[in-house]
Point group: C2
Chain length 160, copies 2
């Protein structure tokens, strides 16, 4: 972490510091896309279902790179395209993501089938090892089908 950030630290508690880096609604979704969906480009993140604004996406990519969680390099074949990738520090977030996935699936109504979650919970270590293997191999095949099924269209407020 750079000095600029360091000087603004709230405390030295690891949880607090972690949250200062990716404690927002979007950062971990980008990490999720990189980790389990095999996404790598700006456009893919943008179209990944939750509807992040392009300026916020650009900002998050900058921050994640500054914090050393992702790396960015221009595509060899197509020079317009940037390829983002998790760093070792970034892939180490796999346990956090997995726990988040399990918690959400257990306690909220989601599109994740209970059977799949049970399976992942039972074989936690294998799942994590698999995630890491895929990352090392640069395997872009999605690990999980996107649990999307975006609901109709959210509105600010239901009209009277």
């Amino acid at each position: 972490m750079r000095d600029e950030l360091k000087s603004n630290l709230r405390s030295l508690c690891p949880v607090s510091i972690s949250l200062e880096i990716f404690g927002d609604r979007w950062s971990l979704l980008i990490v999720r896309d990189l980790m389990v969906r095999g996404y790598r480009t700006f456009g893919e993140f943008q179209r990944s279902g939750e509807g992040i604004a392009t300026n916020v996406l650009a900002d998050r990519l900058r921050r994640l790179e500054a914090a050393g969680l992702i790396s960015a390099e221009p595509d060899e074949a197509d020079r317009r395209r940037m390829n983002y990738r998790l760093t070792p520090k970034g892939i180490d977030l796999a346990p956090v993501l997995l726990d988040l996935l399990i918690w959400g699936a257990r306690h909220e109504e989601t599109a994740a089938p209970a059977a799949v979650i049970d399976e992942m919970e039972r074989h936690r270590d294998e799942v994590l090892a698999d995630v890491r293997r895929r990352w090392e191999a640069r395997d872009p095949t999605p690990l999980l089908p996107p649990f999307d099924g975006k609901p109709a269209r959210r509105k600010k407020k239901a009209r009277a």
Copy 2:
């Protein structure tokens, strides 16, 4: 989760839904205080080191309660005081918190001694079982010493 929130969901991905509930800089710090420090009151959260503003704290407590992660009831002995407590849904966040702790301690400069973290990582299941046992027993003894040591005093920007 209540209908109001439900209607604003970005997607049905469990990770996304989890982040909508506690994906911000403060919510999980409150959970941490409840889970490992044995804090229960507004004042304790407020003084817990990171300097949350009172209006934001009040808001987060409301949201966490609305989401079913914590419960609130007035203290028997002192009727001014509210006692907050994790619900079963809230204590189920223990794995997330633990992974966050481990990640932060591994990858950032924190006040957590490496030896303690190694120990926790090695005995992950025991630590989680212990957390749950303490929660069930309503044991308010801190599980960990606050990894605080708040750095001097953060400034907006270093002056010229």
